[in-house]
């Protein structure tokens, strides 16, 4: 299953690209309209890019009346990314989106690096949203969380149906001549190939910590990258930065992924999910007890994939 990362594709301006995905994830919607951050908003780095868009969006009301009906016309499974600045804001948005049959899932953006965060914990926000909607809830977490596995367990206990890993991580780029920050807000979110090892670690750790399905994203630019995230424990893949340089990436990566699976004698994508954990356990003699237990539990799960 291949999705886009939230904020990395506009299905209304590029419907032909959205149609190549298994589901479309909207740009994050906040209760009130947001113009976004001042330019400059993007900068390339040596192995990635920075963005400082700042959740530019038309606000929930216009999203419901103007954007959602047009997205529904695309007849694609639709995930709506929900943002806010308090648990109450998230919950009110989830309530307003509840019961819309055109929406397959809600992804709670709990990790935008370019705006102020809500004061509540991720689990508190998930619990408030869980009480407001019966639509499947995915919690999108930051790789900069100090105890990511603990946070994954906490959002699972709070009622999340899945987690999305990872959002961008803060970075800075300086102009080569003036040494001034390239972005208008100086610091932005780092994405692209530089994020891939970070995403792999996050998915790997959370796959051991929870039984929730994981949407893996971060630096996927080819089928091999996608396979690695699946091996680390993701059961779906989202594409972000690669869509900017290659609008044909979903189809290309799907083909490459099939080839990568075939090379390894795997007939079904599901057979690849979590196999890095088996490799880790088989290949090392000195794993500590907790890893061994978690790995065994995970392997039991991996034999019966959920997605």
């Amino acid at each position: 299953m291949i999705l886009n990362a939230s904020g990395c594709l506009d299905a209304l301006t590029a419907p032909e690209v959205a149609q190549t995905l298994d589901a479309f994830v909207t740009k994050t919607v906040t209760p009130l309209p947001r113009p976004g951050n001042e330019p400059v908003r993007i900068a390339e780095t040596e192995v990635g890019m920075l963005n400082s868009i700042g959740l530019a969006n038309p606000g929930l009301e216009r999203f419901l009346t103007d954007v959602l009906p047009r997205l529904a016309d695309l007849r694609l499974p639709l995930w709506v990314s929900v943002g806010g600045f308090s648990a109450g804001e998230y919950a009110r948005s989830c309530a307003a989106l509840d019961g819309r049959e055109e929406i397959a899932a809600l992804e709670l953006n709990l990790s935008c690096p370019n705006v102020d965060e809500a004061p509540e914990t991720a689990a508190e926000i998930v619990a408030a949203c869980r009480a407001a909607t019966s639509t499947p809830l995915f919690a999108k977490l930051s790789p900069a969380t100090s105890d990511l596995a603990g946070t994954a367990r906490a959002v699972e206990a709070a009622g999340a149906d899945g987690i999305s890993l990872v959002n961008t991580i803060r970075g800075l780029a300086l102009d080569e001549r003036t040494l001034a920050p390239k972005l208008g807000r100086a610091v932005g979110g780092l994405s692209g190939p530089a994020l891939k090892p970070i995403a792999l670690a996050a998915v790997f750790l959370c796959a051991r910590a929870t039984a929730l399905p994981i949407v893996g994203m971060g630096g996927v630019s080819n089928g091999r990258d996608a396979l690695e995230l699946l091996a680390a424990g993701a059961s779906a893949i989202a594409l972000g930065t690669v869509l900017f340089s290659d609008p044909g990436a979903p189809g290309r990566i799907r083909t490459e992924l099939t080839q990568e699976l075939a090379k390894r004698g795997l007939s079904d994508l599901k057979d690849s999910i979590g196999i890095a954990h088996a490799e880790a356990l088989n290949g090392r003699q000195n794993l500590n007890w907790s890893l061994r237990v978690a790995g065994t539990k995970y392997l039991d799960f991996a034999g019966k994939p959920r997605v």
Partner: protein, 241 residues
Amino acid sequence: MLRRERLRVAGSEQVGPYTLLRVERGGLEPGVPGQFFMLGAPGRLLPRPMSLCFAPRHELSFLIDPIGPGTRALCALERGDQLTVLGPLGNGFRLDVLRPVLVGGSIGIAPLPYLSEMLGHPRALLGFRSSWYAEAAALVPNADVVLDPVYVTELLPDDDSAVLACGPEQMLEAVRRIVPAAQLAWEAPMACGYGACYGCAVEIGGTWKRLCVEGPVLFGHGWGQTPAMAAPAMAAMDGRR
């Protein structure tokens, strides 16, 4: 419909400090003058937006100023090298104008040779920072050239000519003050060129818009260009090609 192809470099020429990169056209359309293409810069993560400079038969040519790692990589391409090209993108100039005058500054002259050809080589007013940069003026027929510290706006005719301009932001702002109805081709850093990244947002008239899908050519007095307007212009151009 987005079209992206891997194309071969047909040649590369120095024009003052700039490089004229000639690429085999493949199956891509040249589009309307002022539209742009995303050129995949070798070794770089993100492509770079470039407006079309010339559209000779079977080729697309781009005038590039090597100001950073991406543009330097593009300028280093040699005949036979390959690169990915996505386009044409955005909204170009409206060509149904009377008494056109082209105005360009520095690398902003890039779309003017193609525009000049489509409009029958009207008068052009070009400004450069030095005579070395001004070597690029040879690409635009019927051009009057000024060098820094003279501003190109000092040459603007005081009549009802239709002004079509591309250049630095300060130049476009100055043109807009003098000729509110001018068509202005803006630029902004962008990662995708097709509305996905929201990186190229610009504030005009109190609202933020993505330059890649709303522009890059806009009327000076506000937002008036719509994608539908590119269609008759495209038809007119096809008839002249």
